[in-house]
Symmetry: C2
């Protein structure tokens, strides 16, 4: 029975795509804390700031876990004189209203909560330069913040750091349709850039679930990976230029719009993935691919992970240059999508699901390649069931099965999130091993992610925060990853929560050199303190 | 008449490619100085070392030009004790024979000549570590050398720097055919890696004319661009890991083989394009694309540069994901190929020639896309003539029209070479302006390069070195480039010859930060001195 749908699809005319109509309308995924309601899991977050200081004093605060913040560093505290200065240079854009500050003090997962009392909203690079110059001279710590969609606590203050929001730096500066190079301010929301480019026959080289909230500056600062990396590569390759304000207010202008420039060291690379700890990115130029004229999405079910891997190999060979994504989720993810978001399974139940996307310039060629691939996948019994979409609404609906897993998890309970790079053939073993290890202690143990990039998202939930469960997960998960020479943070970064685990993926020599670079660029350490680098450094 | 060939091709069956048979067999391009004979243009090279010191003393030496080397820095000179140490750790691999050293003391263009008296040939990372640790403690300068195919004098000693050759570090360490990730020592020759991968159904993500001699370590150290950048992106995206020995002998192990790893700063990026001035790259891991099953090359002629640009735009739209190169040469390049290398023009004479390559996974789809594109290009009168190749020998022959321009130039006289990035629509204006400006003073003024990357190779020849001609070219060419926010070195790097022109493409703030990084990683400045960074820095 299971093969019927695919066979039905394949017996149709090449152009007449079979697409399931069983989907609910895709909901826009808004990743701001406000959208999820502030009552979500308030008791399970790491508490710092005023409350945390009390905990510290009692000796049982965040220090007990390597993920927790160290004591507040001896930065100055914001005075009335400081506020007067900020209000003078940023009239109407110096926010001190606690209600307005609340959503910027807590991350999207509600797992980290700071106690900042001031948020600055610069509009220009000059504004940012003035702010940092002042803060550096006054020894005031600064938390640069984009869309605040990060998952490792890197985007919110830990104590009373001044929040420097790039939200008002949202101007598109230039787009060259011949070269496909876009230049814009750091605060542009990814989805807005995508919409702007679509009208101009191009697309952004990156796409991620948080696109409706995340900002390009934050994407670059965290070296966001996402759904198109398989095809268009990492931001280290697609970002052509950056403008960065250094800790002391100096503006580092590397905002070139050239595909090639070998005049000295490529300094902008340092800031890609540095999570705002080395400088504040104020503008970005990025190489954008042509908009594909033909996009297809296939949702397939596999019986085993081995079959899924074989499907991937077949796919790489037969879809070749039109393959733009190869994502997976397991049956546990499907259960959460069904239960918490009422998203029905578009195909029959299988242990593993695959989302394959093709993007190309010729619908009939792409259709033929896809047809041949599916025929071969069925002939080899690699897939059990599947459905194909070529129309935009259906494509979005199929994609939401993959993109909304993160959201479904937030409804399942307190979530322990791991974002792991592994050799692709080892990816699912970690989920299986973890499931076996935790048994009934965990509510759900789910695996999904980017097969094409060797990137697993392992998520474990429990009804509430559970130190015993955490102790069963960590450091096991990191040791397991290190034993395969994997990365303990493939694309989420280290932020606050993972910073002390860096040694599982980087040797001390390398981490020490990172410390030297931090000391060189931000000698007072005012930029996003307590993030990225481990506490025991120097 | 001119359209006949294309029409003939297009009237054939889709699979039955028309391909000209007018080519001579392609000659392997060997880029070692020895291969070209050491008598080539000996009088026109910059002379340093013993001879140069004499010139310095007379006050009219290399210091007169910003391209020339500054005085020798106060490094130690190699003693008998030093040689004894090297011979002990590198028995049989410590070269002091002047005949053997000669070809490593001079660059391929014969434009820079050092006077090193010792070349070390390590086989392992540990060898390199011991060498640098020793040299750093003894204050001995070191010139890391790969295939010595660089064009800006970065790959040879300027005075008596010890040559550290990576030629014997030529082991392939691992290849994972599932992920396409290759790990190898730095001294592997690019062409050997390509051959190795071809047998395993993959290709290197970069290709360049010097492939028969250049080494992957040198490619990475100079951030080589080449012929596939349009499709597969820069080395900043495709290099996944590096092992680097720092100036003091410490081994920095960033040799991961993961597509994604966001655990701290991406330090390896610093060394990509740093021309051996920050560390010696000893091993590389790199992401390799699948070998395309269908490759076609088209050689077209255009009447104007505007038509050439329109052809490029049409090509991007209609060939889409299978476009893998869009290169150009002008009629002056063709004249040099005819005259000096006896390569006949495969089509009728035109002012501009284009080499378009497609790489895909389905010969019939690719053929159809190409067919449609050529039909449209003819219908719009964008091209005057053309020929198509799908068979390997013919493909190589067509490619050699583009790849061997550099070689043809060396036979035309003393060559002034410029490697410029510009907005694509401005690219040829610089050639036209230069031709007009120089008039009869230049023997040839030719333009060729990578249209798809906005990268022009502007070359000017004269019968012999001509200071008056040089004064007419520079700084005009740099000022012209800077006025368009271009790069004065798109892919060749700065090396010795362009280091002092860095400010035309980078602001002082940025260059100063480069200096800080150099000082941090190589405080004694022993690594490839006189290269990349300008003389007036600190």
């Amino acid at each position: 029975r299971l093969k019927t749908k695919l066979q039905l699809y394949m017996s149709n005319e090449k152009q007449c795509w079979f697409a399931s109509s069983r989907f609910v309308e895709p909901m826009p995924l808004k990743l701001s804390p406000v959208a999820l309601g502030s009552s979500f899991l308030p008791n399970s977050s790491l508490q710092f700031g005023a409350g945390a200081r009390k905990l510290h004093a009692e000796g049982n605060g965040p220090k007990s876990s390597p993920a927790a913040a160290p004591d507040r560093l001896p930065f100055s505290r914001v005075t009335q004189e400081d506020l007067a200065f900020f209000k003078k240079i940023l009239p109407g854009r110096t926010i001190t209203d606690p209600d307005l500050l609340e959503s910027s003090n807590v991350d999207w997962l509600k797992s980290v909560k700071g106690s900042s009392e001031v948020m600055l909203r610069p509009q220009t690079t000059e504004d940012v330069s003035q702010i940092l110059s002042y803060c550096n001279s006054r020894n005031l710590a600064v938390n640069p913040q984009g869309g605040n969609t990060g998952l490792t606590g890197g985007s919110v203050p830990v104590y009373d750091e001044i929040i420097l929001s790039t939200a008002l730096m949202n101007k598109i500066l230039a787009f060259d349709s011949i070269s496909g190079i876009l230049t814009c301010q750091a605060g542009c929301v990814l989805e807005n850039l995508s919409l702007y480019l679509e009208k101009r026959d191009h697309i952004m080289p990156l796409d991620l679930g948080a696109k409706g909230s995340c900002q390009i500056g934050g994407n670059v600062a965290t070296n966001a990976g996402g759904l198109r990396l398989l095809r268009y590569g990492s931001l280290h390759g697609t970002v052509l230029g950056l403008e960065v304000v250094l800790a002391d207010g100096r503006v580092l202008d590397c905002l070139t719009t050239l595909r090639k420039d070998n005049t000295g060291y490529d300094l902008k690379q340092l800031f890609i993935g540095s999570e705002g700890t080395l400088g504040v990115i104020t503008a970005v130029s990025i190489l954008c691919p042509r908009r594909p004229t033909s996009v297809n999405v296939v949702f397939l079910g596999c019986e085993t992970f081995e079959q899924l891997l074989k499907t991937f190999q077949l796919c790489r060979g037969m879809l070749g240059e039109i393959l733009s994504a190869f994502e997976f989720l397991d049956s546990e993810c499907m259960r959460l999508l069904n239960t918490h978001l009422r998203l029905p399974n578009p195909i029959s139940d299988c242990p593993f699901y695959v989302v394959i996307e093709t993007s190309g310039s010729d619908p009939s060629h792409d259709g033929e390649k896809l047809h041949n691939f599916l025929e071969e996948a069925m002939a080899c019994s690699l897939v059990n069931d599947g459905t194909v979409a070529t129309e935009e609404t259906k494509i979005k609906a199929l994609w939401s099965m993959r993109e909304r897993v993160t959201e479904a998890l937030t409804h399942d309970g307190f979530t322990y999130k791991y974002d792991i790079s592994l050799p692709v053939e080892r990816i699912y073993q970690l989920v299986t091993d973890m499931r076996e290890r935790l048994g009934d202690r965990a509510k759900s143990v789910v695996g999904y992610g980017h097969i094409g990039d060797g990137n697993l998202h392992l998520n474990i939930t429990s009804p509430a925060k559970d130190p015993a469960l955490l102790a069963a997960i960590e450091p096991f998960v990191y040791e397991w990853t290190a034993s395969c020479q994997g990365s303990i943070s493939a694309e989420h970064g280290l932020g606050l929560k993972k910073r002390n685990y860096i040694y599982y993926s980087k040797n001390p020599q390398t981490v020490a050199l990172m410390g030297n670079i931090k000391a060189m660029l931000d000698p007072k350490g005012i930029l996003n303190p307590y993030k990225t680098l481990p506490d025991n450094l120097k």
